[in-house]
């Protein structure tokens, strides 16, 4: 699979990228779910990160099977949020997690 171009904002993401980018956890990350929040440890760097409830839901959905569109649909279904806002938050978080090498993004 080829490395897709970076995703930085929802406006910059094509429909194709939303429908074909799948996300999976890095094998070098260990996560712990703590009462709905998540702590992630990067086993390469020793750095750790925390995700709030929404971030934790997104993290759990990055299973290597869901596209960005799939995850967006779940968020819109589960939370009372405007679809545009949900997509903005989703893309921003994914971008950060990919940048920190905690998530891998692939195109299928």
């Amino acid at each position: 699979m080829s490395d897709p171009p970076p995703v930085t904002s929802s406006q910059a993401v094509s429909k194709h990228a939303l429908n074909h980018s799948i996300l999976r956890h890095s094998l070098d990350v260990q996560g712990a779910s703590m009462e709905g929040e998540t702590v992630l440890l990067d086993l390469n760097t020793g750095r750790y990160y925390t995700l709030n409830y929404l971030g934790s839901v997104i993290w759990e959905l990055c299973t290597g099977r869901n596209t960005i569109s799939d995850i967006h649909a779940v968020l819109c279904d589960r939370f009372e949020v405007a679809p545009e806002r949900a997509l903005d938050d989703l893309v921003a978080l994914i971008s950060e997690l990919v940048h920190e090498r905690l998530l891998h993004r692939e195109t299928r």
Partner: protein, 344 residues
């Protein structure tokens, strides 16, 4: 010069740490005494089976005497002064940690080098002129090598004081100067049992996490001694010119026994508050894990770190975690904590 080192007669000292048989080999009385003091509660007089862990420490006169050869694949993991090895003053030393073909090398430059192979359960220490070092520095360097070996066998150190009452444990975690020792002394004098001053071990027991005693001398400052009349005549020693330290065994000063392995029920993160009465602030599990990680986890071997992280997360889920705003009522701390511990 290396021949001089090898020709010294070697002595082996045997210990058992929670089922882990350990042999410490050294030819130097200066290197033997602090380790025997550190591990005095784990001493075994005879060895019937093979040992799982072997630590061998040697004294050398010069850095060139240390048989340290790095392979081309050696890579530096961390470098700095003290911070990666907790906040003990004796660890404010320049160091470099290197990974080299399964060995972890902690290089303390003009003090010496530790070579640790966690998988094989072996560590070697080469200390340069240890007769010039304070005993607590030798103890610290040995302890560093030991815990790296223990980590590979599922025993993880945690930077905390630990006490036990009626089979339930309290961990008091945090850096120096935040009231960790003072709060632990307040509990000891009220009858809590002593587990450790600074580094108990934790272990995954399946359904829960256990805390295991690692009883050592309790180190206190002059300011702490002044708070507790029973410590007035604790002897001091001078590990470095210009610095004084006071230390004592808990069982010598308090009507306490060394506690036993138990299930921790509470973790406290104290800080000294300029208020008359102490109070507790309940922390979320996520916040508790965030606070525990820097007190415990060092990521050298990713798989060991992965297991250790899981155990810490399990511990944070199992216990109630509080920020202790530690006021001036230091002797009343048991009244605040014991009802919560008994209810939990």
């Amino acid at each position: 010069m290396a021949m001089t080192v090898l020709n010294k007669p070697m002595c082996a000292y045997l210990f058992s740490i929670y089922g882990m048989r350990l042999k410490y080999v050294t030819g130097s009385p200066v290197l033997a005494a602090p380790v025997n003091e550190l591990l005095k509660h784990f001493r075994q007089d005879s060895v019937e089976e093979s040992t799982e862990l072997t630590l061998c420490f040697k004294d050398v006169q010069d850095r060139a005497d240390i048989p340290l050869r790095l392979s081309p694949s050696a890579r530096q993991l961390s470098v700095g002064t003290g911070a990666a090895v907790r906040d003990q003053p004796e660890t404010g030393l320049p160091y470099e940690v290197i990974q080299d073909e399964g060995r972890l090398i902690a290089d303390f430059h003009n003090l010496g080098v530790l070579l640790m192979d966690g998988v094989q359960g072996r560590a070697e220490g080469y200390l340069i002129n240890p007769e010039t070092m304070p005993a607590n520095l030798i103890e610290y360097l040995f302890h560093l090598a030991l815990i790296e070996l223990l980590r590979h066998r599922g025993l993880y150190p945690i930077h905390a004081a630990a006490l036990e009452k009626h089979g339930r444990g309290i961990l008091i975690s945090g850096n120096s100067g935040r009231g960790k020792t003072t709060s632990s002394l307040s509990l000891l004098r009220s009858g809590y049992r002593y587990l450790s001053d600074d580094h108990p071990l934790i272990r995954d027991a399946g359904t829960h996490v256990d805390v295991l005693p690692f009883p050592t001398k309790i180190n206190v400052t002059r300011a702490t001694i002044e708070l507790f009349p029973e410590l007035a005549d604790v002897p001091d020693h001078v590990p470095h010119p210009g610095s004084r330290k006071w230390s004592f065994h808990a069982e010598d000063r308090y009507p306490t026994l060394i506690g036993e392995r138990c299930r921790p029920a509470m973790v406290l993160f104290p800080h000294v508050a300029d208020v008359p009465h102490s109070h507790l602030e309940l922390l979320s599990k996520r916040r508790a894990l965030e606070l525990l990680l820097p007190q415990t986890l060092l990521v050298f071997d990713p798989e060991v770190a992965r297991r250790e992280f899981e155990v810490l997360a399990k511990l944070a889920r199992q216990v109630d975690c509080y920020r202790l705003h530690f006021g001036r009522d230091i002797f009343d701390l048991p009244n605040l904590l014991t009802p919560l511990l008994e209810q939990g």
